[in-house]
Symmetry: C2
Subunit: 591 residues, 2 copies
């Protein structure tokens, strides 16, 4: 396919339904005056307007649907879909593209065969590293794909005032970003305290989005009652953080689109499914993955997995499909998609049946882009780059020596499978006033090193839960949300070497043990994304995980856990390049 892939196969969102000749042709094709490009016959169309299935043909011209019904159309190519079900392409309306570690072209390869034809990414990871320029690079890197990649303008870069990000996205930058055709609104407003304190620096971003008549995403974990009322009153109309029934119920009642999240990190679908089945969310819900790793996408699929789960639980498949197509399209103002109807983009998923929802074919803009799991998109190697973003000062082992003021210290307690941590107090082992690893304790050193400006700022703390047996260190340039270097280990030497192993490839994950680099996953694109094929990234990811396990680590996803330990918007204790922060009390801790 690669040689035949036209450069303009996928047009930018700014190019609307059609230029004049294409609109003229679409009308003539709909009227039956001239043949379309493609005619799907013997189809069962999932109608999102009536939430019913209808036997129909679908005629397509220039990538847009010209007719859907039992009318008698003709086309250059006729495909008998054998009674299969034709649905609108699926939309994951809240993802962080960077969490996949993949360039958009590789993400497209993974998700399109599973029926996804659009995602909406809050790319605040690259925003924290490179600001507006970073988001522009991802926009550029996601052109001309069978997956439409939309973005939200990152509202919280840096995530808090206590972080050292590589860039600041202020009100002016938000206004600038909202002019981009593929940027749909203001991304998740994570800085809830700033909202409740009515801080102008935060509210002005909200006002900028409202003035531009764009949607604003929320991020309100565990928020209910008056705090939720005020948060919604401020303008946030979607939320993907519900982890309890009562929370989701309250959010839907107040009009938020409840983005039921089930990704690699957080799994909320089982909990929220009863609410969907009871109809308590009305149609104010959709399915999203938020943060998902490439190997989970390979293993599980994408939205198809979640659809299958809810259909098996009893949600009508027509409704389930509507909730991941028409509903998010409407919410985010994507009026060109989300339905199999005339005048809509021919983004289609054809499934064998409505229970297993096995994807047979996927069409993007009327073009076959996946068939029986095989991706038929472009094979070109992506050339957009964002290199040399890891800037460190000269470091030595002394950077990783912690001298606590007392032998009982606050320790960041990792809870397996969760983003929140526990504030622990542990009696630790000291030698000459310096913390040293004890095999009996499961407490390790952890450091956050500012990497954007080589400022030399290093925060040190202690962490429990990684399970190191004696030696080793894990380091990562993915450290939400500022993406400084985070490293944990049992001794300064391994930690230093792990940091250097990352720095020399421009970012990534590294595992070091006894002075030896055991495994490494390079992420040279802003220190966040790999330049490799999805298959290779998955293999490398497995390799670094196995290497971490060889050091004793029992966490299923050690680099995932590590990367969230730097995020001071999630309770209880987190570590930034400025030290250990108590998120609950909003104060720095002195070790």
């Amino acid at each position: 396919m690669s040689t035949t892939w036209p450069a303009d196969a996928y047009r930018e969102m700014s190019e609307t339904a059609a230029d004049l000749p294409k609109l003229q042709r679409r009308i003539r094709v709909g009227l039956g005056e001239e043949p379309g490009d493609l005619l799907l016959v013997n189809a069962q169309v999932v109608n999102v307007f009536t939430a019913r299935v209808e036997p129909a043909s679908v005629v397509i011209a220039d990538g847009w649907i010209a007719g859907v019904g039992q009318e008698n159309w003709s086309a250059k190519e006729v495909i008998d879909v054998g009674g299969r079900y034709v649905a609108p392409g699926w939309i994951d309306s809240h993802m962080h593209l960077e969490s996949t570690l993949l360039l958009p072209s590789e993400l497209s390869r993974l998700v399109v065969p599973h029926g996804t034809t659009a995602i909406i990414s809050d790319s605040h990871e690259i925003g924290n590293v490179l600001g507006v320029h970073g988001i522009d690079l991802l926009i550029k890197a996601s052109q001309n794909l069978p997956l439409d990649v939309f973005f939200m303008a990152s509202s919280c870069v840096p995530a808090t005032a206590w972080e050292d990000a590589g860039a600041i996205i202020g009100v002016e930058e938000i206004e600038e970003l909202l002019k981009r055709p593929r940027i749909l609104g203001l991304a998740e407003v994570m800085d809830m305290p700033a909202v409740w304190k009515a801080e102008p620096y935060m509210l002005e971003k909200i006002l900028a989005a409202q003035h531009a008549r764009r949607v604003i995403d929320g991020h309100a974990p565990s928020v209910v009652g008056k705090a939720l009322q005020a948060y919604v009153a401020a303008g946030m109309r979607a939320d993907h953080e519900s982890s309890s029934v009562e929370e989701a119920r309250q959010k839907a009642r107040l009009g938020m689109l409840v983005q039921v999240r089930d990704g690699s990190i957080a799994h909320n679908l089982d909990t929220l499914l009863p609410l969907i089945l009871d109809g308590e969310l009305g149609d104010r819900w959709t399915l999203v993955t938020d943060d998902i790793l490439p190997d989970d996408l390979r293993r599980w699929g994408h939205l198809d997995r979640l659809l299958r789960q809810i259909v098996k639980a009893g949600v009508r498949p027509e409704v389930a499909i509507r909730q991941v197509s028409w509903v998010p399209a409407q919410h985010y103002g994507l009026t060109d998609r989300g339905a199999v109807a005339p005048g809509y983009r021919a983004d289609l998923v054809i499934v064998d049946d409505l229970s297993e929802l096995h994807v047979w074919q996927v069409y993007k803009n009327g073009r076959l882009v996946a068939h029986e799991g095989k991706y038929l998109g472009p094979e070109e190697v992506q050339t957009v780059r964002a290199e040399n973003t890891v800037h460190l000062p000269r470091l030595d082992e002394n950077a990783f020596r912690l001298r606590p003021t007392a032998s009982t210290c606050p320790v960041i307690g990792v809870i397996p499978g969760q983003l929140i941590t526990r504030r622990e107090h542990r009696c630790v082992r000291l030698q000459n006033g310096e913390w040293v690893f004890s095999p009996d304790e499961d407490v390790a050193l952890i450091a956050s090193i500012e990497r954007h400006r080589a400022s030399g700022r290093i925060g040190l703390g202690l962490v429990s839960g990684f399970g190191f047996r004696r030696h080793g260190a894990l380091a990562s340039s993915v450290a939400h949300d500022s993406h400084n270097i985070i490293v944990t280990g049992t001794n300064p030497s391994d930690m230093l070497q792990a940091v250097q192993a990352i720095a020399e490839v421009g970012g990534g994950f590294a595992v070091v043990s006894e002075g030896r680099l055991v495994e490494r996953l390079p992420l040279p694109f802003a220190g966040l994304l790999s330049l490799e094929r999805a298959e290779t990234v998955c293999e490398q990811l497995h390799a670094v995980r196995r290497a971490a396990q060889s050091l004793g680590c029992t966490l299923a996803c050690p680099f995932g856990a590590l990367s969230f330990l730097a995020l001071p918007v999630i309770p209880e204790l987190k570590l930034t390049a400025r030290g250990v922060f108590d998120v609950v009390r909003q104060e720095w801790l002195q070790l």
Copy 2:
């Protein structure tokens, strides 16, 4: 109330949810940190998101809702609504404001006490008279009212190439209009033949709206099958012309918002109600009035009447209310309204119960604007004017002499209660080659006189159905869509005088008999709207109707019927200033 009505009580749509201090206050009020302006307690809130009723309080700050729930808020003013039902304000999403004959301030007086807080007007009547300037005048005349008046950019001015309108609204004017904050999209695309012929002059207007990411209204009476497919493929996403079940079903399936119409002229609700009850329209429907006369608004009410009817027929009231609030608000991008929820405009209707839907109070932007049917809006007299728009050449009786080429003539057959006419062939009475009235025949002379440029262009024809007994003439400056002067009567003398009676007051309706002006309703605002109070206009309207009846006219709405006889987009025969036009065959008739 008039003296206390603040000049900025109602802000323009361009002013979004709040400026910073108001947003800050709303957050604090939602949090319960400071009192709101108004607190409604002991309320049952109609939740459009869940389509359920919930006991709740509603707290309002600066005209916006800051909280809805069982939280404990305080406010400067607390109103116990006594267990009544609080719903979002109702929206009539397809009206022609000019059909009410009222200035917006008077229309507001009539409809607000019935629960309407917003209308969307396609003001192509004034567009045909004064172009963009006319629409701007109506925008100006509808500022600072408790009724938000939105507009669509008129797509068909003139309606067809066979009309002599006062202005042309081309692509550039559409682009200009779409920049106005209160213009929401492209108005009903009535020129269906131009769409099917893929005429660039029409399609470029559609493209302009699509490029501006705005909604496009349809107008597709009786259109089904491939013609409908092509029409929808061109971009029209709403339609108010369904008069049959099959037509509405097809439109909803293709994703059109079916605007079930029930006004003074056309009554489609009875026909379409079974579809609503069967769920065949999904939630793709709303209620509109399209063209409604002021006395019908006084007598019947507005959307409350239609809601009452459908609720009695079995539609759940929560659903019925959602369909005239949230659904049209979403469709037209009015994201600031349509729900009783935090962050939405406090446009509220409080009804005593959910079966009779008797309106107790109406709030606009948090301000009480109607109580038990009493309007509490501004009493100031509107000062915006659009005068001197009737320009006629010097006329004499000879202008109204018809000399047919044969004694059997095509006659425009009026069908009572319908906009379509019948093409009749009648043997008519001639004297010296000139048509003369015969009391046995119920055929009258009809003339359309170009009135915008005094071009002297006059079309003559014959019409049946008015029922003149012997004498008299009816004339009107309201003549869809070009609004030339239309006059029908039994003799040239009465017809001339009726035209002059209109011209001397700048437009209106006039009834003349035996050389005497019997009654007149002056419409000096562009020849379309009265400057009088609604009560006066209704009295004058009754007076001209009674006067017409005194001439023998049996039509319930003679001036309504007359005004649509000039509209050459509705079959079968119509009359313009260029003569009689066969709409079906798209050709001029030679009499």
